[in-house]
Symmetry: C2
Subunit: 139 residues, 2 copies
DNA sequence: ATCCTACATTGGACATTGTCTAAGTCACGA
DNA sequence: TCGTGACTTAGACAATGTCCAATGTAGGAT
């Protein structure tokens, strides 16, 4: 996602310090942060950045398809920068961390026509839950 | 789920008017309500029921495994009384309503061992998204 | 049938997450 | 370098959910 900023500029984005920092935070680790975690990490580098800007920027990245919004537990949404690779999520039921995983076959095809009830089905998300090795050891 | 109250009594539940009403609301329709929708419908029959009680009761039903908590959009969680039948969800991206659907095969088997990263995977939820016939007409 | 008491309910304060607005600021094309 | 329209900001507000102390009550004990 190193050329993300270039892609965004190509789409008419103004390149501000705040947007750069938010993009860098997402680009860094491979965990999926909540909006407030992104804000905290962004504020490390740019202390005066506001919560509203982080929310705005994340929302824009999502509508542009650069980032995926994940809500696994009804608490804070998490933001997944790995939007260009088809993948699903593996969530630890104890500590909440999320891993990206890849499944076999196309999950969409598992839903037969009569089970679609007239919906125009366009998307499917698969979420596996279990205990991660770390929490398993600690128990 | 007509014998739900019996099962709960067997587990040491006190049978109060409030709990009965919450259970009846869930038992009724086949849509999945949010906590506040459950509260509104419960209040139709028992006007003095409080939000806290509805939240408490729903939480208890979830821990007892009688009801499933569904959070599809990071907004309000919805409560699915159909906990004893294996099923997945079809969500309208526009109006948020949820339908239960049944898929072919076991989605768990689509996650190969090397993609499990040491997790003890115990559960999988599949959520299909699309536009429901009603929203499709209205557009 | 009545009483006791542990469990349940209530209302309201509080917490968390997210949205909106009006005013000020700044990126970038001309 | 300037002007303008897009961007950012702080803080109020909204939606959802949690917690607590005071009060009420279901159901076993008598």
């Amino acid at each position: 996602m190193s050329d993300l900023l270039e892609r965004l500029r190509g789409r008419g984005w103004r390149l501000t310090a705040q947007r750069r920092v938010v993009a860098e935070v997402l680009d860094g680790d491979h965990v999926h942060y909540t909006a407030d975690e992104v804000h905290a990490r962004a504020a490390d580098r740019l202390p005066e950045i506001s919560r509203a800007t982080v929310y705005n920027t994340l929302g824009e990245l999502v509508s542009l398809g650069e980032v995926i919004e994940v809500s696994t537990d009804g608490r804070a949404k998490r933001y997944d920068p790995n939007a260009h690779h088809d993948h699903q999520h593996l969530v630890c039921s104890r500590c909440g961390t999320i891993r990206d995983v890849h499944v076999q076959g196309d999950p969409l095809s598992a839903l037969p026509e009569p089970e679609r009830y007239g919906f125009q089905v366009s998307e499917v998300t698969v979420t596996y839950r279990g205990i991660c090795p770390h929490c398993s050891d600690a128990s």
